[in-house]
């Protein structure tokens, strides 16, 4: 029922996920545009439907991307978990990258020459905070990798406590506690300094 083109894409994503799980880092690089392209298109549609300022339901978005890239809902929780891991990383990468470019542009020329669209999309404060958060998250990962993962999955990947727990194979209570400790730590690192 799916077309040959779609089938190919699904196979490709599945294969890349597998490679990445087996430790091939370039697989992630190749996955990124696939996942991001899909998420971007879905996000676009969501926004078109909900034009009057509704927030984007990140979980719904990621789930749809999952369905579209990997086909029918699968019982294979492992690949699902890894997929969510990828989407969280992709989104982190994309947003932080955007923030950095914005900072670069601001430094590179006088502030007035920053293109208008950009101004509308992300404020300077927002960009600096995202970059600071990204750096703090790297530091946290060295202290406590699981907490950094929890933040990445929830904040960048948009997952619920329950989904995060499933993916990390820990209890919801653990995720909840990780979340609050990490949140305190990051807030202190980003805003209190």
């Amino acid at each position: 029922m799916t077309t040959s083109g779609e089938t190919k894409a699904v196979d490709q994503v599945t294969e890349l996920l597998l490679e990445w799980r087996q430790g091939n880092d370039t697989a992630l690089q190749r996955l990124t545009p696939l996942v991001y392209g899909e998420i971007r298109r879905i996000a676009h549609r969501f926004m078109q439907r909900e034009r009057d300022g509704h927030t984007l339901q990140t979980t719904a978005l990621v789930n749809e991307a999952y369905l579209r890239l990997l086909g029918q809902p699968q019982v294979d929780w492992n690949s699902r978990a890894h997929f969510f891991g990828v989407t969280a990383q992709v989104m982190r990468h994309v947003l932080v990258d955007h923030a950095r470019r914005r900072q670069y542009l601001k430094r590179g020329g006088d502030a007035e020459r920053v293109p208008l669209e950009d101004v509308a999309l992300m404020t300077n404060e927002r960009a600096s905070e995202l970059i600071a958060l990204d750096e703090a998250l790297d530091q946290l990962a060295e202290l406590d990798p699981r907490k950094a993962r929890v933040i990445e999955l929830r904040y960048f990947g948009g997952l619920s406590l329950e989904e995060t727990a499933t993916i990390l194979d820990v209890s919801v209570m653990t995720v909840r506690r990780d979340w609050r400790a990490a949140k305190a730590w990051l807030y202190n690192a980003v805003r209190n300094e």
């Binding site: 077309t3 779609e6 996000a43 978005l61 470019r101 293109p115 999309l121 609050r180 305190a184």
Partner: protein, 672 residues
């Protein structure tokens, strides 16, 4: 901090966060005993947690949705082309992607336009384009966008053709119109500056041919720049001196994308001179004042008919000498007969300048009021569909417009039947299909098919005999289905279909408009078909009125058991088509592809298009592909052989409800 230390701190932090505020101090003292550092760190984090509130609670994606959407993972960012380094993607248009780039040799910012592959692959077109761009780059005028370089760079696999222009920090007039913030003074000023640029170009023998709000930018300091000068010409495929009408329409539509600013002579495919730019500037002036263009239609065809046949509605009810004179300027720019139009832009300019001088002398009051806004109440009360209005108001306005359009068009078509027939169809149209013999019927279908393709924005190719016979068989079949009442076969059930479609029209129009897709006709066809067709499941799993895959329907919120419900499926199909067409972008004319994709899944559109673009004889024209099916692969051939004729047959029936006499408006004209 070490991981071990962090574990200690965290343990205290978790403990203290479990407690109510009043118990926390003593807990900290007990837990930390003599370790003051531990106590201080835990306290800091505890306080941070209390202060953090919503911090990172809303996911980054929701907070930055706009970024996510607009920010393509663009492999071009950071790339070097010639002496330029790409920094940021500014946008994309028919002529390719535009980037903000740094000119590393001169350390200045430029806008770099990369021409799309399909464009570059046509050597003749590329030559014309380069010649034209070079001519424009010789122009040196403050109101004309400066072209720094027309160049190319050879890579390992391909060549990149690009144009580097000055980077304008400002907004397009399109954006300014949408924001409704232009004052009368600014409107006149912009028109004068555009006019000045045009004068310089005309003096050098260059005609712009595509003056429209998207091609005019205003810098923050107020300086106005006209973009894409003369480039439209080189995008034309052939000289269009002597071509038949239906072809002229689509050629023009394909060339320009937006037809609303086209002069009548351009729309007719006649040769043009500088007066075509005067017309377009008149349209832009009108739009800046009114907030909408003077010539509107649901489809390109309708808009073109409006340009050719209708007078622009007068702008003002409330009169002042200044407004009278602006109206006069517009009237003289929008003379359909070129001989009666302003002969040169200079003439138009001196009239505009006269209005400005009087205006500055204080003849009018309130020059700083956003103009279109204060005018909106005066002009007429059906132009309300601005994005700041609430949804229901928009719906109400669209409905009013629909009804009005319906009435106007009915009257108009009655009055001008001869003209419409002449433009759109053959004389055979006047004869009832049922009374035609087979040869006449085939002739009629050939004409209708071209006309319908043109309405959809597709470029019609000549259908072969087999295709025509296939369509005819289906039209005949539809007519037997509806031949219950003796005198007006089909009228009753088509009216019912029409009535069923009407409530959806605002929704359909919105979903297309949101994605800036101009074509709306496709969506009515399944509506029309649903009056004849039973709801079936195809052998390969496509189901229901629109023959969606259940998987696809699900994406658009329709369950497998609801796929025969026109009320459920129509909005879904509207969104689906609009999505696919938005995705096709430049190739949005390829409606057929979109329709075929109903039962192939959405990714298929993209993949097929990619594949087809790679073929040497690819044309943006799937009717032609249908006619020359030897070019297609097996599965496409099979599917187009079924769906395309059905689609066309339904369109032929549906477009002419009262047995082709065109006494009611085509459904597609009702969309706006």
């Amino acid at each position: 901090m070490t991981p071990e230390r962090w574990q200690q701190v965290e343990a205290v932090l978790q403990g203290v966060l479990d407690l109510p505020t009043e118990d926390r101090a003593s807990f900290l003292n007990n837990a930390c005993r003599d370790d003051e550092d531990l106590k201080r760190e835990a306290t800091t984090l505890m306080l941070a947690y209390d202060k953090a509130g919503d911090f990172i609670e809303e996911s980054a994606v929701s907070e930055n949705a706009e970024v996510l959407i607009s920010d393509l993972p663009d492999l071009n960012i950071g790339r070097r082309i010639g002496s330029y380094r790409l920094l940021e993607r500014l946008g994309a248009g028919g002529m390719g992607e535009v980037y903000l780039a740094e000119d590393t040799s001169l350390t200045r910012l430029v806008a770099l336009k990369i021409l799309p592959e399909y464009f570059v692959s046509d050597a003749a077109r590329l030559r014309r384009f380069n010649a034209e761009a070079r001519a424009v780059s010789a122009l040196n005028h403050p109101n004309i966008l400066t072209i720094h370089e027309v160049g190319r760079e050879s890579g390992e696999e391909s060549e990149t053709h690009f144009i580097a222009t000055e980077f304008i920090d400002g907004e397009t007039v399109r954006a300014l119109i949408d924001q409704q913030m232009l004052t009368l003074e600014q409107i006149i000023d912009i028109s004068i500056q555009v006019g000045s640029g045009l004068v310089a170009a005309h003096a050098a023998g260059i005609i712009h041919r595509d003056v429209k709000p998207e091609n005019i930018m205003r810098r923050r300091d107020g300086l106005v720049k006209v973009l894409d000068f003369g480039i439209a010409k080189s995008t034309e495929q052939t000289s269009t001196d002597q071509i038949d009408h239906s072809r002229a329409f689509t050629e023009a539509g394909v060339v320009l994308g937006t037809v609303g600013y086209m002069s009548p002579e351009q729309a007719r495919g006649l040769s043009v001179d500088e007066r075509t730019d005067i017309w377009s500037l008149g349209v832009v002036l009108y739009e800046m004042l009114a907030g909408h263009g003077p010539f509107r239609g649901a489809t390109r065809m309708d808009t073109i008919v409006s340009i050719l046949e209708r007078e622009a509605p007068p702008l003002f009810n409330k009169r002042s000498s200044e407004l009278d004179r602006l109206q006069e300027i517009i009237n003289r720019s929008l003379e359909k007969d070129v001989a009666r139009r302003y002969a040169t832009v200079n003439e138009m300019l001196s009239d505009l300048r006269a209005v400005r001088t009087d205006s500055a002398a204080g003849i009018t009051s309130e020059p700083a009021q956003p103009f279109a806004h204060s005018l909106a109440s005066q002009i007429n009360n059906v132009t309300v569909s601005r994005r700041r209005e609430s949804i229901w108001k928009t719906v109400a306005a669209v409905t009013v417009m629909l009804l009005m359009t319906a009435v106007i068009l009915t009257l108009y078509l009655k009055r001008n039947r001869a003209t419409v027939n002449h433009i759109a169809t053959s004389p055979a149209n006047a004869m009832l299909y049922k009374e035609m013999n087979d040869i006449e019927r085939l002739q009629f279908i050939a004409n209708q098919a071209q006309r319908i393709s043109a309405m959809m924005g597709d470029r019609p190719g000549k259908l072969n005999d087999e295709a025509l016979a296939a369509i005819k068989a289906r039209v005949d079949w539809y007519l037997t289905k509806t031949d219950s009442a003796a005198l007006e076969p089909g009228a009753e059930s088509l009216d019912k279909t029409h009535q069923r479609a009407v409530p959806f029209i605002p929704l359909i129009a919105r979903s297309f408009e949101a994605r800036k897709v101009p074509v709306t006709i496709g969506i009515y066809l399944p509506m029309i078909e649903s009056a004849y067709r039973t709801c079936v499941e195809s052998p390969f799993g496509a189901k229901g009125l629109y023959q969606f895959l259940p998987h696809t329907a699900m994406h658009y919120g329709v369950g497998a058991d609801e796929m025969c419900d026109a009320e459920k499926m129509t909005p879904a199909a509207a969104h689906y088509i609009a999505d696919r067409m938005a995705e096709l972008g430049e190739d949005a004319q390829s409606m057929t592809l979109v329709l075929l994709s109903y039962n192939r899944g959405e990714g298929w559109v993209r993949d097929t298009l990619r594949e087809l673009r790679g073929k040497p004889d690819y044309e943006r024209n799937f009717w032609t592909l249908f006619a020359h099916r030897d070019k297609l692969d097996e599965s496409f051939r099979r599917e187009s052989a079924g769906y395309v004729p059905t689609f066309l047959a339904a369109a032929i029936i549906g477009e002419n409800p009262k047995t082709f006499e065109l006494t009611t408006p085509p459904l597609s004209s009702l969309a706006k």
